[in-house]
């Protein structure tokens, strides 16, 4: 237990990441402590050169305030043990942390993306994530569109949609035919 610190209604301390289950288990099961409720679990990215933190907020009737436990996670090897055995409700918290920060929770049975699509391959809340353009895979990715006037050119888009579909395709009889020219992915810039 390090860095004990309090503010008006919160007590906090830091623990190494590999001891989170042990510490939280003691906090929950010790009858004098009885932090029976997991109020919140969040992940914090302290920058590219630093580390991640998984922050647990706990509540107990026996103590006047919230308890904040900060577990440090290495950034190059973002792994920590899951607490879903103790609180089933930590499942969505951990899925969200994995989705947004890329922290892997060992022992979590359902560590999938929860907000982003399953084929998404980045972690939006990390600090080295650059806010992308609307069309994340367009050449303008990661660039504020206002500062790239050339990306405002929509002529590619116009050409792309000016495809005449053969009548059979409109009926849905022959899916996948005659649409080669209409694939947006081929054009260099996507509609914004």
């Amino acid at each position: 237990m390090r860095n004990l610190w309090t503010d008006e209604d919160t007590v906090e301390f830091s623990i190494p990441g590999d001891r989170n289950v042990e510490v939280l288990g003691t906090l929950r099961d010790d009858p004098d402590l009885a932090f029976f409720m997991l109020a919140d679990a969040a992940a914090v990215d302290y920058g590219v050169d630093a580390h991640f933190e998984v922050v647990y907020h706990l509540f107990s009737w026996k103590h006047p305030g919230w308890l904040r436990v900060r577990a440090r996670v290495d950034r190059s090897e973002p792994r920590i043990r899951s607490i879903t055995d103790m609180w089933e409700g930590a499942m969505f918290h951990e899925r969200e942390m994995y989705d947004m920060m890329g922290i892997v929770f060992e022992g979590n049975r359902d560590l999938r993306r929860i907000y982003m699509s399953p084929d998404y391959r980045s972690f939006p809340l990390r600090k080295d994530f650059v806010l992308p353009d609307d069309a994340a895979d367009s050449p303008a990715a990661g660039v504020n569109p206002l500062e790239r006037p050339e990306t405002w050119d929509l002529s590619h888009f116009r050409e792309a949609v000016a495809v005449t579909f053969p009548p059979s395709d409109l009926r849905g009889d022959a899916p996948g035919e005659g649409v080669e020219g209409g694939d947006f992915a081929d054009s260099e810039s996507r509609p914004r």
Binding site: L146, P149, E150, W152, L154
Partner: protein
């Protein structure tokens, strides 16, 4: 629940009572809702104590809006109707001045050689340094630049934006508001408004007069290249019909004789200016 069916009966009684009760529907277009005094659901511009809009149509808010929710139009300091919005939606955005203010690559309309004119970058730097390199001296820098080039070339503005660390949207906004020329000075475009109200107010007669005066039709250019004639729908915004515009100056309402006079005056001054230089 003492007796089965009582609950259902109470529900039925409630609905039956309400069948005859006064209704709460507001008949919207006839019955207006009471809008609270503090209502800020309607976007409105703030007025100064003299009843004038405080907004100066500089588009800076529209350009920095992250979700591009702002779409605005108005008149700039030269009386030129300008509009900010998606250029592919609004034909009015064909005005190159507005294009450039919107942060887009300006569409060359006339004299394309001068649009992307290379500016003398060391000279611009020198000028900026000469004014102390301070953002406060922006207008003075503009004045000096226009003195040299006759207008504010885009590249010069970008240079100024870079050197002074001012967002270039702000630089363009300031240039447009300060009454500086953002178009090359030579070659005048005469635009006759063809909007509905102008057509009713005698627009065709004005157009015929100008055709007669210049000897060219819409979309054509005088042999000496000094004038070209266009027909647009965005000149007067329907308020000063019929209206004509020469470059960025809007005249209206004009009748055929006035239009002829204005154009001939402008032609004479252009000729004399051309001979003077």
């Amino acid at each position: 629940m003492a007796f089965p069916g009582i609950g259902i009966a109470r529900g039925l009684a409630t609905t039956f009572r309400n069948f005859f009760a006064p209704k709460v529907t507001r008949q919207y277009p006839e019955q207006r809702p009471e809008i609270p005094d503090r209502w800020r659901g309607r976007l409105d511009l703030i007025y100064d104590p003299f009843g004038e809009h405080k907004c100066e149509v500089c588009f800076q808010c529209a350009q920095v809006c992250p979700v591009e929710a702002i779409d605005m139009s108005g008149f700039d300091s030269q009386g030129n109707r300008i509009r900010y919005g998606m250029p592919e939606i609004y034909d009015e955005r064909k005005d190159p001045n507005a294009y450039r203010r919107a942060g887009l690559a300006a569409r060359p309309m006339r004299n394309p050689a001068r649009w992307d004119e290379e500016v003398d970058a060391p000279w611009v730097d020198e000028t900026i340094d000469g004014f102390g390199g301070r953002p406060e001296s922006l207008v003075a820098i503009f004045r000096a630049t226009q003195g040299r080039y006759g207008y504010l070339p885009e590249q010069a503005l970008r240079r100024i934006s870079d050197r002074l660390s001012i967002h270039w949207a702000q630089v363009f906004g300031a240039a447009g508001l300060g009454g500086f020329r953002l178009l090359p000075a030579d070659g005048h475009v005469v635009t006759v408004c063809d909007c509905t109200s102008c057509r009713f107010a005698g627009g065709p007669a004005v157009l015929a007069a100008i055709r007669e005066e210049l000897g060219i039709g819409p979309g054509e250019e005088t042999p000496d290249g000094a004038f070209s004639l266009e027909v647009g729908t965005d000149v007067g915004a329907g308020t000063i019909s019929p209206a004509i515009r020469i470059d960025t100056l809007v005249y209206g309402p004009v009748d055929a004789d006035q239009a002829r006079h204005i154009v001939s005056e402008r032609r004479r001054s252009a000729v004399s200016a051309g001979s003077g230089s």
